[in-house]
Amino acid sequence: MSDRLTPRRVLVILALFGVLAIIVMPWVWALLSSFKPRSEIMSTGFLPSEWLLDNYSGLFRDTLFVRWMFNSAVVSLSAAFLAMGLCGLAGYGFAKFDFPAKETLFLLVVASVSIPPFTTVIPLFGWMAKLGLLNTYPVLVLPFAASAFGLFMMRQYVSTLPDELFEAARIDGCGEARLFWSVVLPLARPALATVGILVFISSWNSFVWPLIFMRSNEMFTLPVGIAGMNSEQMAEYGLVMAAAVLSSVPMLLVFFAMQKQIIAGLTKGAVKG
């Protein structure tokens, strides 16, 4: 293929930049608004008349933003790592072993994706209270760690690894634990990374769950904390914009740093589905 710019290619590039503008615009607008004084947020004009850091300092002074960010990070990272462990183990089990009720169990997990939110909240709430888990990190970590998509993806990926490899290792006297640790894990790294990031995303963005299971301001995660700034009684748009901008940074960094692994995982995991 040549690198010449034909008219059609120019059109495609222009269209891409158009789409790019649409996609980026609300975020950029939030960024610009976050530097505006309170009275300008909803007025005409895109650029702040003067660039102020008031919204950011307000965010740190008047809200528990840092704490919420910390909570979100703890919860999402734990969920991601735990999911990699749980789904890695189970995915290996499903991909390379035969056992009674295998397909039924797998279908059960896949079907659970169809359950709409709220359905499980009421029964769970009672159980979590009995276990003393209300307002604790585990109640936000564990449900996301048992990720149906994660299991699905790990199963697909591990099943693409050649059986001979495992047989050879076993003949060499390799135990299952070591096999998992030193063969499955390294080979499945792209898929694991993908599972990690997908779980990270869904945990980082989840709203209903922390809203109901977290009971105090210090235990809220970012979405719940930020949504609280926007109630009908107190709409602090400037702070919300600043919070929105800051809250998206960690995820952007994660994506940026791990892009290769994610793409590789998606390619082999989802694609083989």
Binding site: S39, M42, S43, G58, D62, T63, L64, R67, V121, I122, F125, G126, A129, K130, L134, L211, I212, R215, S216, N217, E218, A227, G228, M229, S231, E232, Q233, M234, A235, E236, Y237, L239
Partner: protein
């Protein structure tokens, strides 16, 4: 000028953390309770808390500032599952009737009944379930009318405007198509019903009788509905935009509204949203339906203190709720820090209620509330159902799909199906 409202929330967090660090000896004697409320109530509670602490050194209150909708939902989940409720919670008054039948609230008759004389008889009915009290009267919110004196003066209008008919006439003079100025704003949807409530109650309308059955052939209600519609579509003096939405705030700030119908707590919003127009805004009572009618107004929000049965600190919780509900200084403190209109008659008589508010340059109590009787709807359980149904009809009416009378009839029919 007041700090941002959730400051109180952040402060509550700090109070909580500080409490955790208190010496162990003190902790052994101290009962710690949690109180869930929202924005201006959290601020008010913070303000009156030190006095409570002085009198009850053995009780520590963690004041948690949450989104009001979230509080209702969370307490409801707690009612359903029997766990996770605070020691004292603040409920939106219209949603209160849903809670006592769940069996999750403590009966508080022994605390509330002895001081029945100190609050409105209508409130007595509201807070009772099967003739027993399940809530403490807290604050009521009456409908008032804030207005721009400069706009009125420009058109030679003298406030207070007594009746709705006069209001409409004045509105036609104020309405300026060139400058895009409206008399006031009314809301569509379920929010619109919250606003309409103030109009209907002022007219003495009831949607349900005291037994909770739908009032049928409710002509007066249909008339109020027609009036609400005419404000926007016939007289074209009112801007149709959701209360407290970004558009609404901008319209206030850009001076496109000559008046704001609201509960008395609306002053809190004006102080933040219309900071630049300090001194231009005044307040008057909600207009009456006729010049010879009673000086009655409707409600605009209002909330109730409850103690969930799950609370392990019933006695301490009751003390805190009773303090907020009945202590004159506390009730006045709530007025001074968020404009919650005291339910306590003794607090209403307090001289501090007559102090002028800087933003208005007049006493809101004297200018808009004093001497006004507050009418209340009879509530039914699951009030959001009523709100949502009414919201649908209001929308259909403003979309031009049906006449106000038809919208009212359809609403009534739906209520009859649900509540009989």
């Amino acid at each position: 000028m007041k700090r941002r409202s959730f400051l109180a929330g952040a402060a509550a967090g700090t109070v909580g953390l500080a409490a955790a660090r208190a010496p162990a000896i003190a902790q052994a004697r101290t009962t710690k309770i949690t109180y869930w409320c929202w924005s201006e109530h959290a601020r008010g509670a913070q303000a009156v808390y030190p006095r409570f602490r002085e009198r009850n050194p053995d009780i520590e209150v963690e004041i948690l500032n949450l989104n009001p909708q979230e509080i209702q939902d969370k307490i409801l989940v707690a009612m359903a599952t029997g766990v996770g409720a605070p020691d004292v919670g603040l409920l939106i008054e219209s949603r209160f009737p849903t809670y006592p039948p769940t069996g999750g609230l403590s009966e508080v008759t022994e605390h509330v009944a002895p001081r029945e004389a100190d609050f409105s008889p209508r409130l007595r009915t509201r807070l009772k379930h099967n003739n027993r009290y399940f809530g403490f009267p807290y604050i009521q919110n009456a409908a008032v009318m804030f207005y721009r004196q400069d706009y009125f003066a420009e058109k030679g209008i003298t406030a207070p405007i007594d009746t709705w008919a006069q209001w409409v006439e004045a509105g036609k003079r104020v309405r300026d198509r060139q400058r895009n100025i409206y008399m006031h704003q009314v809301s569509p949807g379920a929010v619109g019903f919250a606003n309409l409530t103030g109009y209907m109650e002022g007219a003495g309308v009831q949607l349900f009788d005291e037994a909770g059955k739908t009032v049928r052939q409710n002509r007066r209600a249909a008339e109020v509905m027609r009036f609400y519609f005419d404000l926007v579509r016939t007289h074209e003096i009112s801007l149709l935009v959701t209360h407290n939405s970004p558009e609404h705030f901008v319209a206030i700030r850009e001076g496109r509204l000559a008046a704001l119908h609201s509960g008395n707590w609306g002053l809190d919003r004006l102080e933040t949203e219309a900071r630049a127009d300090r001194g231009k805004w005044k307040v008057q009572p909600f207009p009456r339906w006729s010049a010879d009618g009673p000086p009655a107004v409707g409600t605009w929000g209002g909330s109730v203190l409850v103690i969930p049965r799950q609370s392990r600190n019933q006695a301490a919780a009751a003390k805190w709720a009773q303090y907020l509900s009945s202590d004159v200084d506390a009730q006045v403190g709530l007025w001074q820090n968020g404009y919650g209109y005291p339910t306590s008659v003794r607090a209403q008589a307090d001289a501090r209620l007559r102090e002028p508010q800087g933003f208005l340059g007049q006493s809101m109590y004297e200018a808009s509330l004093q001497g006004r009787e507050v009418n209340y709807f009879n509530l039914v359980a699951d009030w959001p159902r009523v709100q949502i149904e009414m919201g649908r009809q209001i929308d259909a009416m403003f979309q031009g799909q049906k006449a106000p009378e038809q919208a009212w009839a359809d609403f009534e029919a739906a209520m009859v199906r649900q509540y009989g």
